[in-house]
């Protein structure tokens, strides 16, 4: 699971606010004695002020409202200003504000499956959607001076392969010559300037293999390895 992307986050907020507006409208219509509509809106927003219990599991964070601080504050303000008699007409809106906080949680859970369709985790195009400004940076002395060679058309044909992390690690660290510091790093380059799919907000580091044919995509909770038939690199710095 990717956590929640900014696209679905936005979608869930829109959905929640849409329902809240409808609820405000319904409550407003039902009342016999109506407050000013803008005052009702302010009361709703103040009612949303609460003491939360927040928790995060694998980047998906929820905050559960516990204490209706906003509602209490409003009760106090109405008392201090000797307006207790008009409180009953504002009261439903204050509580609507507090209860709507639960709506934000529900819509967030509802839109979650959208992520999996919009941003499939196992596809390279999720991580590399816009490569117009892409370039390659040498991050290990064993790398050569290289630049990207027509990257875009090769992305779609790249195939997933397994990450043999233990072998890769051992190949490099079991140095046969103890006097030499020479190491042929497996991924001596880093791709920069690559944009993930719009709205995903995914942060990644994409390493390029020494033969130029492999990409190791590291996101915050997964790693994927893709191989290409042809090299993505050519000699010489652009």
């Amino acid at each position: 699971m990717l956590g929640i992307t900014s696209f679905t986050e936005g979608l869930s907020l829109l959905l929640a606010w849409f329902i809240i507006i409808i609820l405000i409208y319904v409550v407003y219509q039902k009342l016999d004695e109506k407050p000013k509509w803008w005052a009702a809106l302010i009361i709703v927003v103040v009612g949303m002020f609460s003491f939360d219990f927040s928790f995060t599991f694998t980047q998906f964070s929820l905050s559960i409202p516990i204490l209706p601080l906003g509602v209490w504050l409003l009760i106090l303000i109405f008392k201090w200003t000797d307006n207790t008699e008009i409180w009953p007409i504002y009261k439903p809106f204050a509580w609507l504000g507090f209860l709507s906080l639960f709506l934000f949680i529900i819509t967030k859970l509802l839109v979650l499956p959208v992520d999996h369709f919009m941003y499939p985790e196992e596809e390279l195009s999720t991580y590399m959607s816009d490569v117009e400004n892409a370039s390659v940076m040498k991050i290990h002395p064993s790398g050569d001076d290289v630049s990207l060679d027509d990257l875009e058309p090769k992305i779609d044909s790249m195939q997933r392969d397994s990450i043999r992390s233990i072998d890769w690690y051992n190949d490099l660290t079991h140095n046969p010559d103890p006097d030499s510091n020479e190491v042929d790093a497996r991924f001596p380059y880093l791709l920069t300037g690559v944009e993930p799919k719009w709205g995903s907000d995914l942060e990644t580091m994409i390493y390029v293999e020494h033969d130029g044919k492999g990409l190791l995509v590291t996101s915050s909770d997964h790693q994927y390895y893709f191989r290409s038939e042809d090299s993505l690199l050519k000699e010489g710095v652009e």
Binding site: I166, S180, E182, A185, L202
Partner: protein
């Protein structure tokens, strides 16, 4: 005026006045940087072990941050970091050891500088700075993860003056931003108080003398330090050639 409008207007006025005061106090434009004598006085007042005697230079890093290398009366080559904060230029870090250290002046990693002031006896002609993260792997629930080694270097000349500033190159900035963005997405609630949110990433340096040899800068590595308020710095470790890969 109804009571409700009265409440709202009073609250609004109070809010605007408070915001203005906060802005005036915290976001005022810097005045001219103080004279050398005043800098010395202020440093010695705050931190008597600075023993500051001579200001070597004042190097403006951006409009609110200045690096001031100094020499102390007991022949130490020190560094001080000055920041325009709350309507005053304040020394936020003073130290009599001048071996290189990272100063991150802003939350953005692009605004990062490595600052040094070596004692002349250490004979530092050139410095190579390194940004290193070692390789590692882990397997959990059958899922493999391989973290490649990062080892990049920048060579800087240090022969003109005892002190100097290296401002992050575009490459280093890009690399550091990517590392931090990924680490922050991984642990959004975690902050290490260092520049890098990934504790495996380290800065290193190798000084080179006029014969091109690396010798530990003994006269610059020991001293006393003082921090005043929040200053984001990070160590730059002396690196032995054995720890480097080729």
């Amino acid at each position: 005026m109804t009571k409700l409008t009265k409440i709202i207007s009073i609250t609004t006025i109070l809010l605007v006045v408070t915001l203005f005061l906060i802005y005036w106090y915290f976001f005022s434009e810097p005045t001219a940087f103080p004279e050398d004598e005043q800098l010395i006085e202020e440093m010695n007042d705050l931190f008597d072990r600075a023993n500051a005697e001579e200001i070597q230079d004042t190097i403006q890093l951006d409009d609110k941050h200045v690096f001031v290398p100094f020499i102390s009366s007991n022949d130490m080559y020190g560094v001080s970091y000055w920041k325009w904060d709350k309507r005053k230029w304040r020394p936020i870090r003073i130290s009599t050891d001048g071996d290189p250290r990272v100063w991150n002046t802003d939350d953005d990693v692009i605004s990062t500088y490595i600052i040094w002031n070596f004692h002349p006896d250490d004979d530092v002609q050139d410095i190579t700075f390194y940004l290193i993260r070692d390789r590692s792997y882990h397997v959990s629930a059958g899922e493999h993860t391989y973290i490649p080694r990062i080892q990049v270097e920048e060579k800087v000349s240090a022969s003109d003056e005892t002190y100097g500033v290296y401002e992050f190159s575009d490459d280093w900035g890009t690399l550091a931003s990517q590392i931090n963005a990924l680490a922050e997405q991984k642990n959004p609630d975690m902050h290490f108080g260092f520049m890098f949110q990934d504790p495996k990433v380290q800065f290193g340096y190798q000084p080179l003398n006029k014969n091109g040899e690396t010798v530990f800068p003994e006269n610059s590595a020991n001293g006393a330090g003082f921090s005043n308020g929040h200053v984001q710095t990070d160590f730059v470790l002396f690196i032995d050639s054995l720890e480097l890969e080729e």
